[in-house]
Symmetry: C2
Subunit: 200 residues, 2 copies
Amino acid sequence: MRPMARTTGSHSDITGPRIRAAALKLFAKAGYAAVSMRQIAGEVGVQAGALYLYTPDKQTLLFDLMDGHMADLLAAWQAEPKGQGALAALEAFVRFHIRYHLDRSDEVFIAYMELRNLEPANFTAVEARRRAYEAELEAILAEGQAAGAMAPGELRLTAMAVIAMLTGVVTWYREGGRLSRADVEEEYWRLVRGMVVGGP
Amino acid sequence: MRPMARTTGSHSDITGPRIRAAALKLFAKAGYAAVSMRQIAGEVGVQAGALYLYTPDKQTLLFDLMDGHMADLLAAWQAEPKGQGALAALEAFVRFHIRYHLDRSDEVFIAYMELRNLEPANFTAVEARRRAYEAELEAILAEGQAAGAMAPGELRLTAMAVIAMLTGVVTWYREGGRLSRADVEEEYWRLVRGMVVGGP
DNA sequence: GTCTATATGCTGATAGAC
DNA sequence: GTCTATCAGCATATAGAC
């Protein structure tokens, strides 16, 4: 059996995650460039020097948060039940995207806002995951078009439009407000269906 | 008559705008917090100290760019011909928004990304202009609903969805690519019409 | 594993020469 | 109007005590 948790001393198994959580929170609120390693350390309750036991530098801390988020997003979508047919898959995508993004608004915010603060190699890696996610939606639209269930028009433009529209929910939705999450999912799905099923 | 422009010496009438242009470019590329006053001065070709003849501080430089952009946007929309009826006004809004945003991608980028770097009073001012712009679209949707020409559902949600979707064009559109600006306007208008005219 | 102390350098902003 | 020189402070990251 493992020994009881010590009340003081070693915390290597929890300090790492706490540092990432603090960095996430602060980066989301003030932006990567505006947050100092001292602030992150202060949030965790350690000294600045101690951070470097868990991350080689500030840039890697940012990259780990962003890349981890995108990897989790892709994995979660791939694990999501899709139903039958392209229209059902599109509905699943819309509801999944909203739900996932509302649950992780800090991660989403960073993943969209801090791209320019990634070093080139890190940017490339994160961007590849983003393109993969966008390609998932594009494939659904292509399938729907081929099956005659949708008329989405220009595929990439439509995919980008849908994702931008859905992601925007994090900028205005407030918990406990006029609309419930279920309302929001429903409304957005109605809008997206109108966009891609539509007419002449 | 005014004297001929001097080739050296006083430049007070052009240095101010050049500083704002340099700040705009650098803020858009690297972010407000990551750009130093020395970099801005270097871009203009003056020393850092000289900047303070044209702006009291860095924060005011950011605020002037953001507030000026929002004011210009509102004024340009109010000067735009709207056609007759809510559907024509909606089409005008879509085409105007895309055109204006593609023409000023740096300003747009800053106006959306640097809100959190504004001091509270400045934030309030910029935010008020943004709400006014969003209210313009919301009013069109309300009018269309009242006239029975649209079924936009939840008004504020739909307005936010449309604006997020349209603004997203600056993140993927590249001049000289597969689609012309006219193509993009046309496609987005088709998507928006499907969203708000739609069915059951 | 965390601390204190420190290196090296850059920051926004100002003072005063020219 | 722009320059050089400078202030006071904070940045990231490291070294070494405990």
